[in-house]
């Protein structure tokens, strides 16, 4: 152990002295020294690790990954054992003193101190590397692996620090641990974000209040790890829940740290970086501020439920006031066009507006069947709902529409103008158009009807209109021609006496005649008759036979006799 330890320490020393830029380029010498150093460290840690399969770190012929795995194998059980120790010390601070007493061997102390320094140096380098990696915010495994290593180193350092410093540094840390736990419990009741802030604050507290502020970053990380450990120990309840987050993949850490699955675990040092920067920049101021907050937290523990509610309400009010100041969401704004709201955002919102139209009827088979039934029934009944126009009352007589005759006119142009001229000068009654003739006929009929109706009423006597017509009039008694229910009845005949008989001189009846007049009449008659008879015989000279002559003679004789008798 002594010889290799010296070589190992030399190697470590050499590693320390090399300039950082030299690490960038791979060099065989550097790798050799690194291997030697890691071997040395491995063997130095070996007594503390309970179950390491390797006696010493095998480096020859192994690549970085394999060496790493070996280290990992050793470090994990080591970590768990250290944690157990820590728990023990928590529960029983007196044991620490026992430890110290047991470890008062100066040689060991010296060696330890030397190793502590070297460890600090190494951890410094490693810490820087870790920072670089963390700044990249790359894979969590890498980070956690490195954290493990870091924790490994740091915890070793812490342990050895415990042993080395006579209880001064450790006591402070442990006391702080307890305070931290208290604070964390209270913060748990609030939201996670504030807790994290407290944690950051506490980290800073650690960094500031400790006087050994050479490597603030390390201590921050130490504090962070401690916090995590402490939280892990306290939050066993959450550990089961957080167990799902397999991102905290180290098995030893899981039970303790899963409960504290934090943003940083998943998404890197977004919050760590600013917190670190903050700490760098404003170390003292923040420390003082954080102290005050720490004190406030203490006060909040003693608040009554009413005050707690008030505080909640106040917080809500602040939130609402803040949201009021911000511009409203598009749903709260008045008229929003498509350009003013994000794309497809109207689909997500449940819009409700009045539809002025009835929605169109959904045509299903049933609807059509019902319609068809109605139609059939109506057709059978003959009940049609045709809208019929109400008969419009004619306000004025319809204008006579002169139809355009599309046929060739039969009259010549001269005749047309002739008719026109005649009409103008009223020479002759123009042959009226067809419509006018019908009009005349209609008016005639109506007049006749009116005459008859007036006769019935008797109120006003209107004589029949005189129409100069050529018509034959029979000698019918006037009664028939006049009114149906005549006022006066007259025996007068229709024809005037002149029309009946137009004669000259005195006209006497037979009874008025004197005898001489009678005789005269008879004589006239006879003469006429004779004249006629003579005519007849003259007309028929061929037929002049004896018979005719005899007849004629016989007639003459008869006439004479008649005449003689008359006389």
């Amino acid at each position: 152990m002594a010889i290799p330890s010296d070589a190992g320490s030399e190697a470590l020393h050499r590693l320390k002295t090399t300039d950082p830029p030299q690490w960038l380029a791979p060099s065989a010498a550097l790798s050799q020294t690194a291997r030697a150093a890691s071997q040395h460290l491995f063997s130095s840690l070996r007594p503390y690790a309970p179950k390491t399969p390797f006696e010493q770190l095998l480096v020859e012929g192994f690549d970085a990954e394999q060496i790493w795995q070996q280290l990992d194998l050793q470090s994990q059980p080591l970590l768990s054992s250290i944690r157990r120790e820590l728990k023990r010390f928590e529960k029983d601070p007196e044991e620490i003193r026992k430890l110290r007493v047991a470890m008062e061997g100066k040689e060991r102390e010296k060696g330890l101190e030397d190793e502590v320094e070297k460890m600090e140096v190494e951890s410094d380098d490693f810490g820087e590397d870790l920072e670089d990696l963390e700044e990249e915010e790359e894979q969590q495994q890498q980070k956690e692996g490195k954290e493990d290593e870091d924790e490994d180193e740091d915890e070793d350092e812490d342990e050895e620090g415990e042993e080395g410093n006579e209880g001064g540094g450790i006591e402070d840390r442990f006391l702080k641990m307890k305070d931290l736990e208290k604070f964390l419990k209270e913060d748990e009741e609030r939201e996670y974000g504030s807790k994290k802030k407290d944690k950051k604050k506490k980290k800073v507290d650690d960094g500031d209040q400790e006087e050994n502020t050479e490597k603030e970053e390390e201590e921050e990380e130490a504090g962070d790890d401690e916090d995590e450990n402490g939280d892990g120990e306290d939050e066993d309840e959450d550990s089961e829940e957080m167990g799902e987050f397999g991102l905290d993949d180290d098995e030893d850490e899981d039970t303790d740290e899963l409960g504290n699955a934090r943003y940083e675990d998943f998404f890197g040092g977004k919050k760590k970086k600013p917190s670190k920067k903050k700490s760098k920049l404003t170390g003292d101021l923040e420390g003082s501020g954080m102290d005050d907050d720490g004190e406030d937290d203490e006060k909040q523990q003693t608040l009554s439920t009413h005050e707690k509610e008030l505080a909640k309400r106040k917080l809500k009010i602040e939130q609402m006031e803040k949201s009021n100041l911000e511009p409203k969401t598009w749903t709260m704004q008045g008229e929003v066009t498509a350009a003013k709201r994000p794309k497809n955002s109207a689909l997500e919102v449940d819009l409700d507006f009045e539809h002025n139209m009835r929605p169109p009827p959904v045509i299903t088979e049933e609807v059509t069947a019902s319609l068809e039934d109605i139609i059939k029934k109506r057709i059978l009944e003959g009940h049609f709902d045709d809208v019929e126009k109400p008969p419009a009352l004619p306000s004025k007589a319809p204008r006579e529409v002169k139809e355009l005759d599309e046929n060739k006119s039969k009259k010549g142009l001269a005749e047309i103008y002739e008719e026109e001229y005649a009409q103008k000068t009223n020479l002759a009654s123009m042959p009226l158009s067809f419509a006018e003739e019908e009009k005349k006929e209609a008016s005639m009929l109506f007049k006749k009807l009116c005459l008859k109706l007036d006769a019935l009423s008797h109120f006003h006597f209107t004589p029949k209109p005189v129409i100069e017509d050529m018509s034959i009039q029979a000698n019918v008694p006037a009664l028939a021609m006049e009114e149906i229910a005549p006022l006066a009845v007259s025996d007068a005949a229709m024809l005037a006496p002149e029309e009946v008989f137009a004669g000259k001189g005195d006209i006497k009846e037979e009874s008025e005649l004197t005898q001489a007049e009678r005789k005269r009449r008879r004589a006239n008659k006879k003469r006429k008759f004779k004249a006629e008879a003579a005519k007849r015989t003259a007309n028929k000279p061929q037929d002049g036979t004896l018979l005719n002559n005899n007849d004629a003679v016989a007639e003459k004789k008869d006439d004479e006799e008649g005449a003689g008798v008359a006389r």
Partner: protein, 224 residues
């Protein structure tokens, strides 16, 4: 001769009246008898010639007597057909009643040559105020080829019904001879008929023209 006679008769009349007014008053106004148509043209015979287009030759032959009779008998104008020159010649007679007869007859014959019927053209003889107006389609709108044919078709209508409708409504007679249009009638009626024909040429549909015609015809009828 007749002109010489007039002053002599005048002189005879004048001399006996002169000694009555010997006191110095104005001379009595001379009384002239109206001049006869023959005298107006200084006793010379006047002629008119109307050329016969080939497409009116056979209709002229058919309707010759209808033309000849009123011209010769009522208008007292000599009329003859010069077959060689394909012209109808008119000549005045001494016993012509009116100066304007010759011109009327010439117009009548000319109208017949344009394409009008005899019975329509005779109106010219009977009425003074009838005129014939002719114009071409291209005067209204320049049309070529199919457009021209379509315009002519629009003017006449199916079976000539549009043309007859215009004729009947406006009391005119219309002849559509390829691209030339002749209208016979009185002045106002010619105007109306021309307007409707022009609107048809320009492209308005027949129905529109009919409605306008109806309104016009009603107005024209209302006057009388």
């Amino acid at each position: 001769m007749e002109s010489n006679q007039a002053p002599s008769s005048m002189e005879i009349e004048a001399t006996p009246s002169e000694p009555n007014l010997a006191s110095g008053s104005l001379l009595p106004k001379p009384k002239f008898e109206p001049l006869k148509a023959h005298e107006m043209s200084d006793g010379r015979v006047q002629f008119r010639k109307a050329s016969v287009p080939p497409h009116r030759y056979s209709p002229l032959k058919k309707a010759w007597m209808d033309i000849y009779t009123p011209v010769y008998e009522q208008m007292k104008i000599d009329i003859r057909m010069n077959l060689k020159a394909r012209k109808v010649e008119l000549k005045t007679r001494p016993d012509i009643p009116d100066v304007s007869n010759l011109q009327k007859c010439a117009d009548f014959v000319h109208t017949f040559m344009l394409g009008f019927d005899v019975i329509d053209a005779i109106a010219l003889l009977r009425l003074d105020e009838l005129y014939v107006e002719s114009f071409e389609i291209k005067d209204v709108k320049t049309l070529w080829g199919e457009h021209l044919s379509r315009a002519i078709g629009r003017l006449s209508g199916k079976g000539g019904k549009t043309k007859f409708a215009i004729e009947n409504a406006t009391k005119t007679r219309i002849v559509i001879a390829d691209t030339k249009i002749h209208i016979l009638g009185s002045f106002a009626n010619i105007k109306v008929a021309r307007d409707s024909l022009c609107s048809l040429i320009l492209g308005s549909p027949a129905g529109k023209v009919y409605s306008k015609l109806r309104a016009v015809a009603a107005r024209l009828a209302e006057r009388f």
